[in-house]
């Protein structure tokens, strides 16, 4: 009986992968997300053809404002839509770096997992609100529609929202 229950529990626990943090980390650490979720140097990253990253060209600095007000505002080049030519500037409403406490670049999935649960470091959100943010914020959604020549974030926004909610239901375990 006990083993049947355990089996049932296991069956309902499927898909196991969707309850862990891994599929979420895969999205958050993807360059379309992590290249702007940078630390307090405020320097956005560019992906290179070789598969790595380098600092944003033109000596661009997000600064304390995280939107370049001290030097060149992001909006000097980034409009509310993607440039259509390869190599032109991508764009979405509200183009800016996220707050520094939301740094993901150069961090591990375990660190980001703890951050995502911490209202001090997730913009004062519950996990359900984090999921809602993923499905509604134009700048987050841009990650899946990044314009020509850029690889989109893995999966879809809906799949990421589902993964976040399933992870929350499972008690939001961290790796």
């Amino acid at each position: 009986m006990r083993s049947t229950l355990a089996l049932l529990a296991l069956t309902f626990a499927l898909p196991a992968a969707a309850q862990g943090f891994d599929p979420i980390a895969e999205v958050l650490l993807h360059p379309r997300c992590a290249n702007c979720h940078v630390g307090d140097d405020g320097i956005p990253l560019w992906s290179t053809d070789a598969g790595g990253t380098r600092p944003h060209g033109f000596h661009v600095q997000g600064g304390e404002s995280r939107m370049g007000i001290e030097t060149v505002p992001c909006s000097a080049c980034h409009t509310e839509r993607n440039g259509t030519l390869p190599g032109s500037a991508p764009g979405a409403e509200g183009w800016a770096l996220p707050p520094v406490e939301m740094q993901w670049a150069a961090r591990t999935p375990a660190q980001i997992c703890e951050q995502l649960k911490d209202p001090e470091r997730n913009g004062g959100r519950t996990i359900a609100e984090v999921a809602d943010h993923v499905s509604h914020d134009p700048l987050v959604l841009w990650g899946w529609d990044p314009g020509p020549g850029r690889e989109p974030a893995p999966g879809t926004p809906e799949e990421t929202v589902a993964a976040i909610l399933a992870w929350a239901d499972a008690g939001a375990p961290c790796p």
Binding site: V72, R81, T84, G87, A89
Partner: protein
Amino acid sequence: MRLTVDGTEHELDVEPDMPLLWLLRDELGLHGPKYGCGIAACGACTVHLDGLAVRACQITAEEVEGAEVTTIEGLGTPDAPHPVQQAWIEEQVAQCGYCQSGQIMQAASLLALNPAPTDAEIDAAMSGNLCRCASYPRIRAAIRRAIQSEGA
């Protein structure tokens, strides 16, 4: 569509996705903003949109509906140049001149947002504006001169 350029209102019939740079140069005959790259990588096309520098090659006509655009020709006049233009003349910054309207528009925008930038901020702010004649030291000197003339 309607937009105001250098203080003059215009009513134009253009494709919504026409880049502002095309609109200024080809439709309005304003040749101050230059074409260098078309992908936000050189700064030659820089103009002000509602007072702040933007790359005119990246903005489309539909995005500037009702907006105020200023080109180098509307920044100042020969009799009353903008302080940045005055400093540019005093430092004799231009070499061939191709990049210069973009440089001046970028510098004026920087000082509007940050009237007393540090040297590092000046360098960062101007790094998206390329100059094939390498007038960079004079650009920096002119910006510092403009800051001083404004008493910042």
